[in-house]
């Protein structure tokens, strides 16, 4: 790979109770590209994604071994404040989870807890990130309304803006369009292609078409293992693994 590596995962094994969820994962994720994690439901994509910002910590009975290195730091075995690691990564989940506050505060929350409380600055940054998520025109006259008054598609863009506001370097997206209509989905995809200028994006999806549209680099997972990875055009045009080939040709049952 010619681009610098942003996330380097080595020998990652993850168990929840007695279930071996992730098996010997070795992947590299390039900087400022869209890396798509592709595979069936239940193959461990989401778990792998949530390992990267240590949200798996919230699960009962999790055991992890191996390493996940981001910016020369093993985030699984660091003594550094976990909140600092998580702030490096914006998360977009399967359906939007806006905070129970008004639209303005949804963006300002992350800024306030990291100590940026200056009112004028906050106003500016809220506008900037709402614009970046293409939500400003729809939301500028109702910043004091509840986030729940927005449509689902708008809420997902709000969640993206909220994530961007804390200055992440990586965006983790877990099937971010699965609850959205086709038009909102396209809007999110288009935003991702704009955002990869400045962010490393990891996108989990089970929709092959979506992967074909946006992926620069593909990691294909099957039953907890990575069975193929590489630049998108190589994997899609000339898959080496049988399962990958079946999936791409659409005769996957």
């Amino acid at each position: 790979m010619d681009t610098p590596v942003k996330i380097d995962i080595k020998d990652l094994n993850l168990f929840i109770g007695k279930n071996h969820i992730l098996k010997d994962i070795n992947v590299t994720i390039p900087e400022k590209k869209i890396t798509v994690l592709l595979g069936q439901s239940g193959c461990g994509k989401t778990t792998l994604l949530k390992s990267m910002n240590r949200l798996i910590d919230l699960n009962n009975q999790v055991r992890v071994s191996g390493s996940i290195t981001i910016d020369n730091e093993d985030i699984l075995h660091t003594r550094k404040d976990i909140t600092k690691i998580r702030k490096k990564m914006g998360l977009l989940s399967q359906r939007p989870y806006p905070l129970p506050m008004n639209i303005y505060n949804n963006i300002a929350f992350g800024l306030r807890i990291s100590g940026r409380k200056n009112r004028i600055n906050l106003d500016k940054r809220v506008e900037r990130y709402l614009r970046q998520a293409h939500l400003w025109d729809e939301a500028k006259d109702r910043l004091r309304d509840s986030a729940s008054s927005l449509s689902i598609g708008q809420q997902q863009r709000l969640c993206l803006a909220r994530g961007l506001a804390v200055d992440p370097v990586i965006i983790l997206a877990d099937e971010p369009t699965s609850a959205l209509d086709p038009i909102s989905s396209m809007a999110i995809e288009q935003m991702f292609t704009e955002l990869k200028q400045s962010y490393t994006i990891v996108l989990v999806t089970h929709i092959l078409q979506q992967a074909l549209r946006v992926a620069d680099y593909v990691i294909f997972m099957y039953l907890g293992e990575v069975i193929e990875q590489g630049p998108a055009h190589e994997v899609f045009t000339n898959p080496k693994n049988v399962v990958t080939r079946q999936f791409i040709q659409g005769n996957f049952s």
């Binding site: 949530k50 910002n53 949200l55 910590d57 919230l58 699960n59 009962n60 909140t83 600092k84 998580r86 702030k87 990564m89 914006g90 998360l91 989940s93 399967q94 359906r95 989870y97 806006p98 905070l99 129970p100 506050m101 008004n102 929350f109 992350g110 807890i113 990291s114 509840s146 986030a147 729940s148 969640c159 909220r162 994530g163 804390v166 983790l172």
Partner: protein
């Protein structure tokens, strides 16, 4: 009989069952309210709520139950406040900080449910033992402490049930913005669960103000309005009890008037709390 017919009969049976159980509950509630109104309303007077008992009040002469109204408000208000100060952190801790310790939290829930089930007279007896040990007399303070102890499990579990419904995704979203567990608890969970927290407070307040057994030994009874925490204090449930056990018809009717006052107090507080909730916390997300 065909499958379809069985399903229709089943549907009909449960519909009738639900109709009767619902109407039974509504009827009982109406009967209680009507009997309080019919018996209490004629005896309800400005004198009842603006004066303390005078000599001969308990024989049907002049005076009112202001002592018990004020006493009950002090007692229930004080203990609700104290219980809230304990319950909110505990409920948040159980649902945010201990999100991984499923077994521990379930054990705590089980123990709280046990505490909820213990009759309030036992709390009264316990409070009394502690008082004797500490050399306290029957007093407002002793009552507040006892009632606090007995409404804490109710408040925590009521809050906890609401916080359990907060989706995991909201927790993850908040953490991924870099917030600490306490920020997640007090800035996000608290807001999302606000209406449930108000319900929990009202539930606990209602239990506290309406309970006679826990205050019987601990708060005592007096015809005067308390001016300090160390004085014995009258409460509405005991006031109702004393008046109702009188052989004099007039005094008995006043007991119903007192019950009416108690009901109205709870009604007013509930409405005020809901107005406050709509006014200040309207951003709950319906997931």
């Amino acid at each position: 009989m065909t499958d379809r017919r069985i399903r229709i009969i089943e549907e009909g049976f449960f519909r009738v069952l639900m109709f009767f159980s619902t109407s039974a509950i509504v009827m009982v509630l109406l009967l209680i309210i009507i009997s309080i109104l019919v018996k209490g309303l004629p005896s309800l007077s400005w004198e009842m709520i603006s004066q303390t008992p005078r000599g001969g009040f308990y024989f049907g002469k002049e005076g009112g139950i202001l002592n018990a109204i004020i006493g009950s408000l002090y007692l229930a208000g004080g203990s609700t406040l104290l219980a809230f100060a304990v319950s909110l952190p505990v409920a948040l801790f159980m649902n945010v900080h201990l999100v991984k310790k499923v077994k521990l939290v379930n054990t705590v829930r089980f123990l709280l449910d046990l505490l909820w089930g213990i009759p309030s007279i036992v709390y009264g007896a316990f409070g009394f033992t502690v008082m004797v040990y500490l050399g306290l007399r029957t007093s407002l303070l002793a009552g507040i402490i006892t009632v606090t102890l007995f409404i804490i499990p109710i408040m925590i579990r009521a809050m906890d049930e609401i916080m359990k419904t907060v989706p995991r995704g909201l927790l993850e979203a908040t953490y991924s913005l870099g917030s600490t567990r306490s920020e997640t608890a007090y800035r996000v969970f608290f807001r999302q669960c606000f209406s449930g927290i108000i319900t929990a407070i009202l539930l606990a307040f209602g239990r506290g103000i309406g309970d006679a057994a826990s205050v019987l030994f601990t708060t005592g009874y007096t015809d005067r309005i308390p001016t300090s925490l160390s004085q014995p204090t009258a409460t509405l449930p005991l006031s109702i009890f004393f008046q109702l056990s009188s052989p004099i018809k007039e005094v008995q009717n006043r007991a119903y008037a007192s019950a009416l006052i108690l009901t109205i107090i709870i009604l007013i507080i509930s409405v005020l709390a809901r107005v406050f909730e709509r006014r200040y916390f309207k951003h709950k997300i319906n997931f």
